[in-house]
Each structure stands twice: as C-alpha cells, then as structure tokens.
C-alpha cells in the first residue's frame, strides 16, 4: 500500500469511529446544556444500549433475521428502552441532587455509572458476549480502497439520527425550550416552560442516541462487554469538549475530529495501537488546558 492508500483507508476508519463518538458525544453535550451536569453514566448507557439491542435482536431474529432489518428494528427498541432508563436515572439519582454541592453530584453520577457497569458485569459474569448480527461482507471497491456496506449503512444511520436531532432541536417547541433552558433555567420557569419535562426529554434523547451507537457498535464489531462504555464514554466526552461542550453541532464535529485524529494518530511513528488511548487522553488534557471552550463553544463561568 502506498501512502495515499493508507491515507484513504484511515480516513474511512476515522469517519466510522467518529460517527460512534459523535452519537455518544451528543448525549453528553445535550445533558450538559440543560442541567450543567457531567453525566459519567453516559458511556454506560451506550453499553447498556448494546446489550439491550442484542437481547431484542435475539428475540426478533427468528422472525426478521439477524440482517439489516432485524438490527435496525432492535436498535429502535433499544433506543426506546435505554431512553426511558435515562429518564429514570435522571429522576431517581440526579433530580434530588441538583441543588447539592458539585462534588456530590459528580460522585452520584459516578455511582450510577458503577451501578450500571457492575449490574451488567454480574449478569454476564464479565464475559464477552457475541452480538450475532450477520451482515455479509459486501462492499464497494474504489481503486485500492474497500468500503463495506456495513460502514456505509452505519455512517448513514448516524447521519440520519444526527439530522433528526438537529431538526428536533431547531424546529420543534421542545427543542426551542431546550435551547432556552441552557441559557437561563430560572427565567424559563418563570415564562411557564415545564422545565422538568424538557430535562426528561433531553435525557431521553441523549440516552437513546447512546443506545443507537451501542447497538450499531455491537453489530459492527461483533461483541459486547460490560466495560465497553468506559473508554467510549471518556472519548465521547473528549469529542464533546473539542467541539465545545453544550454545542450540538460541536459534538458532531468533535466526534469526527477525534475519530480522524485517532485513526491517523495510530499511524504516527512511535504511537502504534498500544499507545492509541494515551494519544486520545493527551488530546483531551491538552484541549481542556488550552481551549476548554472547544471549537464551537461559548466561554462559560463556573457557577458561584
């Protein structure tokens, strides 16, 4: 392979990876926008989404098969289930804590994450779970570059979901309320907006997108693990920060940038796959230190 082939190959990899990061980063950014909470459990909702998709697929497979249709329907149900799980988490764990000191909220969020992780650990005995989707290996050859149908469908689905979210946020009443709340929650309450309902919708959407990413990742990579949400949660957070936390287009952009950085980064001399995560975490630390507002974010003061 010449240099150009390596470049295009990594470009495709980066875009696929970036789509996952972007979908998960959206949830971080939306929740952060309305409640100013860093939802540590978000990565674990992605993991739970993967397992939910797998369970639903194993029920549906005898009727719909384990191909595109079966996985797509499973993904929709998983989004629904995990969306509601997100709302329950918000109601049970976060709602009572919103007035508490920030340290308490952070620890609560961490506790939720650990509960989800260890609940799945106990159920799966810590084993890898094969996902069992069968897509075939078809694809398109462009010169030396091979793009599988899987990759295209995956990136396409992620694109459609993000477009739907963008339309929801910019065109609907709830979306408008969401944006208003991220500017001034108390004022919204005074204007008669049902803030709690909007927060619930935000958690629902964020969690559902994470579940979509989880199901797709399970189908694409072929296996699930109780700890798989940890790394992607961290990286999606990095993506959200790169794009500017609180900004929805920022999360999409940040996801793509991080996906590309990572897939090209592993080609750098001395980085290699063993150092891949160190590379991403260093990017995270550098961005937080030098440009904490990200590319599309607005400067923000810590609450007093």
């Amino acid at each position: 392979m010449n240099l150009f082939d390596i470049f295009t190959h990594q470009l495709v990899n980066g875009i696929v990876l970036g789509s996952f990061y972007a979908l998960v980063a959206l949830g971080y950014t939306m929740v952060f926008g309305v409640v100013k909470l860093l939802n540590f459990a978000h990565g674990d909702l992605y993991m739970v989404g993967g397992f939910a998709g797998f369970l639903i697929l194993s029920v549906l497979a005898p009727f719909l098969g384990a191909g595109w249709l079966g996985v797509a329907i499973s993904m929709l149900f998983a989004m629904l289930a995990v969306g509601f799980l997100g709302v329950v988490i918000q109601r049970v764990a976060y709602a009572p804590m919103l007035a508490a000191p920030r340290l308490s909220i952070l620890i609560t969020a961490l506790a939720v994450s650990l509960v989800l992780q260890n609940a799945v650990l106990a159920m799966t005995k810590g084993q890898y779970q094969p996902f069992g989707a069968s897509f075939g290996f078809g694809g398109v050859n462009l010169g030396n570059l091979f793009i599988s149908y899987n990759q295209m469908v995956l990136v396409g689905t992620a694109g459609v979901l993000m477009l739907a979210l963008e339309l929801f946020v910019t065109r609907t009443q709830y979306g408008r309320a969401m944006r208003a709340i991220s500017v001034d929650k108390d004022m919204c309450r005074l204007m008669g907006i049902n803030v709690n309902a909007v927060i619930a919708v935000t958690f629902f959407l964020g969690s559902a997108l994470a579940a979509a990413a989880g199901t797709m990742a399970g189908a694409y990579y072929g296996s699930l693990w109780y700890f798989m949400g940890f790394l992607i949660g961290l990286k999606a957070f990095t993506a959200a920060v790169i794009g500017g936390i609180g900004s929805i287009p920022g999360a999409m952009l940040g996801g793509l940038i991080l996906g590309l950085l990572e897939s090209f980064g592993t080609q750098l001399p001395g980085v290699g796959s063993g150092w891949k995560d160190v590379f991403s975490f260093s990017v995270l630390i550098l961005v937080l230190v030098f440009k904490p507002t990200g590319l599309l974010g607005k400067p923000e003061q810590e609450r007093m």
């Binding site: 920030r102 340290l103 609560t108 961490l110 260890n118 650990l121 106990a122 957070f237 995560d277």
Partner: protein, 325 residues
C-alpha cells in the same frame, strides 16, 4: 452554603470528637485500638493477617485521597496513578539500579510530587468536573504507559523486588509487614489530623466550602489545591512503595481505574473528610468481600449501590453521624 464547623479538628474527627470528650476516654480508646492492633495477627492467624495488612494499606491510600477529595473538595478519579508511581519507582530503582529500599522511598516521593505538579498545575484551574475527567485520563495514561514500556516490565510487570531491612531487622514475613503497615496507618492518621488542624487545613476547608469567598479572603486557591494534590500524591507514593516491597511483584493491573474507584469508595462510604469514617471505609472495602465470600461478582455492585444510596440519603457518610452541622 452551610457555615464551616467551628474547629477544624472537630471536623476531621467527626462525631468521634464528641464521643470521646474527656482525656480519659481518649486514652482508653487509643489503648484499646493499639492493643487490638498488636494482638490481631496472633489471634486471627496468618490469612487474616494478610487481609488486615491490605486493609491498612487501604487506610493509607484512602487517607491520602481524602486530603484531595474530603479536605480540598476536588474529585480525583486517577488516584491509583500516584500509587503506581510509588510502586514502580521502588521496583525499577531497586531492581535495575540496585538501590536500597530506603533510598528508593524518598525518590518515589519525589517522583510522585513531580507527577502531581505536572498534572496539577495546568488543570487545577479547570472546572471541577473537567478536573475529574483529566485525573481519570491521567490515571489511564500512567497505567497504559506501565503496560507498554520496557522499563516497567510491560503487561507482566516487575518481579523479585527485595523486601527492606531496618536496623538489622529484615522485614519479610507477612506478620512483619502487618506491623510495618500498622505504623504507616498510624502515621497517616496522625498526619491527616495535624494537617486538618493546620493553617493549610483551614485553607482547604474554606476553599471547599466557598472557593470565591476563600479567594476574597486572600487564599490562593490554585496553590492551596495544588498542595492538597501533592500531599495526596505523597501518601499514594508511600503506600505504593511499601506495597511493592510487600508483594515483591507489581503489574499494571494493580493500578487500574477500578483501583482508583475502590479507594474513592473507601473515602466516601465511611464519611468523606472525617478520619474515623475514612478508616472505617477502608476496612469495609477490604473486609466486606471476605465476610461475604459468596457474593463474588456482586461485590462491586453492592458497593456501587451503597455509594449511590449514601450520596442520596446520607452524604456525610455512615459513621460517625457527625460533628457540628
């Protein structure tokens, strides 16, 4: 925002200060604890001695993290990194450079301080939730580096680390190490209590309760937070150094995110910011799985649910109830 308690000592000891309100009661309690510590390995046998040693190691680690989380109010999710720096410094310098343990120990502390300054200086200005994520990333960077570097022995780690001599006495049996960790835990408790009651301890208290007001009073918050970070790092490094000497072998997986979480649970379950609570938390985290042998995989789930319930219903910890509100 609640007003800070009157005396910083009362805050560090929690309800214990009220419980043991006379000199007689205090001396009695101290004697009972000391006698129990000395008698334990003879009463409970070798297996229990190893478990208790581990619990005492966690007392040191948890008291160190308590300075960062409980005293200064900073969430550190990568505390195992400092533990790793201490353990690997001792491992590498004694194995590759033939250093004596007692020369390696100060080096471990120096490296932990350097690591604390490198990661703390740029990040302690950040929002508190960003700081939590940065420390998490830092912890993972240290673990992955230990996994990938040749000097640290890669995934299999280092083996054959010598146990130290002190004044002609070779510390080598599990019971020897138990007593060494007893001394370390007592020193850690005393240092924590002194720190809480110092000028720096009061500065931490004010920064934790109201950062802006503290700054208005002339406290340099970045400097004060950095001090907490460094003191925590020193605790971690000392614990790591003795951990390496005790086991004789270390591997990257001893310093994973789960390790950081377990130490954090020890700090929070018993009562964040209060010495008796943190000591109790360390014992809970280590002894509970021994007592509940059958729960196996459920262990961390039970702790995690406990953590959540405590944050929701009893944020000051399970014991003692309290000090002044």
């Amino acid at each position: 925002m609640a007003a800070p308690p009157q005396g910083a000592t009362a805050s560090a000891w929690g309800g214990l200060a009220l419980l043991l309100d006379t000199r007689f009661k205090r001396s009695l309690a101290i004697s009972v604890v000391l006698i129990a510590m000395v008698a334990a390995p003879f009463l409970f046998g070798p297996y229990a001695t190893v478990i208790l040693t581990n619990a005492l190691l966690y007392v040191v680690l948890a008291l160190g993290l308590n300075i960062v989380v409980g005293y200064a109010g900073l969430l550190d999710l990568g505390f195992a990194a400092f533990f790793a720096v201490g353990a690997y410094t001792v491992g590498i310098t004694t194995l590759h450079f033939g250093l004596n343990f007692w020369l390696a120990l100060p080096l471990a502390i120096v490296f932990a301080i350097i690591a604390g300054v490198i990661i703390g200086t740029p990040t302690l200005r950040l929002r508190s939730d960003y700081l939590a994520i940065v420390t998490l990333g830092f912890g993972e960077i240290v673990r992955i580096s230990a996994r990938n570097l040749r000097e640290t022995g890669g995934a299999s780690g280092l083996i054959g680390i010598d146990s130290p001599w002190i004044l002609g006495w070779h510390i080598e049996t599990p019971r020897d190490f138990y007593f060494v960790f007893c001394v370390l835990a007592i020193l850690a408790v005393l240092a924590s209590a002194r720190l809480a009651n110092s000028r720096l301890g009061r500065a931490w208290l004010y920064v934790r309760h109201d950062e802006d007001a503290a700054e208005a009073m002339g406290i340099d918050r970045v400097k004060v937070k950095l001090a907490a970070y460094i003191v925590g790092a020193i605790y971690g490094a000392i614990a790591g150094a003795f951990f390496a000497a005790n086991l004789g072998a270390i591997s990257p997986e001893s310093f994973s995110f789960q390790q950081s979480v377990l130490i954090l649970m020890a700090v929070i379950l018993g009562g964040m910011g209060k010495i008796p609570g943190v000591v109790l938390g360390a014992f809970i985290v280590i002894l509970a799985p021994e007592l509940l042998r059958d729960v196996g995989d459920l262990r961390l789930l039970i702790f995690a649910v406990g953590l959540l319930l405590i944050m929701l219903f009893r944020p000051s910890g399970i014991w003692p109830a309290g000090g002044r509100k």
